[in-house]
Symmetry: C2
Subunit: 157 residues, 2 copies
DNA sequence: CTACTTTCTCAAGTGAACTTGAGGTCAAGA
DNA sequence: TCTTGACCTCAAGTTCACTTGAGAAAGTAG
């Protein structure tokens, strides 16, 4: 419990309990450059307070369906070593909100068309815009296409 | 091009070109029980017309962010070997729409809170409902948490 | 009948986002 | 001093939704 009170830095364990993330996950994010911990002479990771915010942002963005790659891109707009200002965060927030709006819009369009589409027969036609939008162009290569956290639907259960 | 005109059944290749799915993907769905092809005496898969609809439904549901597991659950309400009726599809459509509405609602709530949350400081508090809802309870075990198809955001690009 | 395309099975690979495990270090408390 | 606990690294394992590849059989065209 007694921490190195070196300038208010946090250990990985403290960050884990404050964010709810697993220690291994935080290490992974550090390796991937989503946060960048400084080190003690002994090699232990030390986080600044604003890293908690960064990590919380990652959690939220993930729950909204963004990949770590995209989140990394958003976070690049923040200063890495200095504590970001309110303005820094607001800048990210705006870009993030735009993408979120786009995603919501897409889902709404799909939903609205669903009623007209399912049950009417067009679902079996190539012309149906629902399952044959430009989206599907360039969908090549290996790997998974889409996985969603179970918790997201548990609210609908 | 000339097909076995055996009662209007379709080969896997035909189904692939009509749905835009890869042949390997259709085989995978068959193995996983999302569709169930019958076989010729020689062992080749043969699909009924309504399987195209099933597969299209899978595509749409995936683009909306549902996992194959959930889609399988929805499709279980359809008769496997008989061509489903309009009523069968409408029943699924309703349950599906409800889940979709729930998902949209969640995103909207998150978005609405985002403006008040990011930039205000609460993002760093454990009390913040944004990143610490009940959702995160029971989030254990291994494997990936969330991956999203790139094409979904390309519209926001 | 031969050539060719399509299909088959089964095993292994892929990418994302982590977790798990082995083996080792560091600092504080009894 | 010894032990305990939190931390470290690095390699390998896990899940999902597939793809890729090898080797073989089925069906069709000439």
């Amino acid at each position: 419990m007694a921490t190195i009170r070196t300038q208010g830095l946090l250990t990985i364990g403290e960050v884990a309990s404050r964010t709810g993330l697993a220690v291994s996950a935080i290490r992974y994010y550090d390796d991937e450059g989503l946060v960048s911990a400084r080190r003690t002479p002994g090699g232990k990771r030390m986080f600044i307070r604003s890293d908690i915010r960064r990590l919380s942002f990652i959690l939220i963005a993930q729950q909204m369906g963004f990949s770590l790659e995209e989140i990394r891109a958003q976070l690049k707009q923040l200063p890495l070593e200095r504590t970001p200002t309110k303005r820094d965060w607001e800048k990210i927030s705006r870009g993030f909100r735009a993408r979120l709006d786009a995603r919501i819009g897409m889902l709404e369009r799909l939903r609205d068309r669903l009623d007209g589409c399912i049950g009417c027969g067009c679902l079996s036609l190539d012309a149906c815009k629902l399952y044959n939008p430009d989206d599907r162009a360039g969908r090549t290569g290996t790997g998974p296409r889409l996985v969603v956290q179970k918790s997201i639907e548990s609210s609908a259960e």
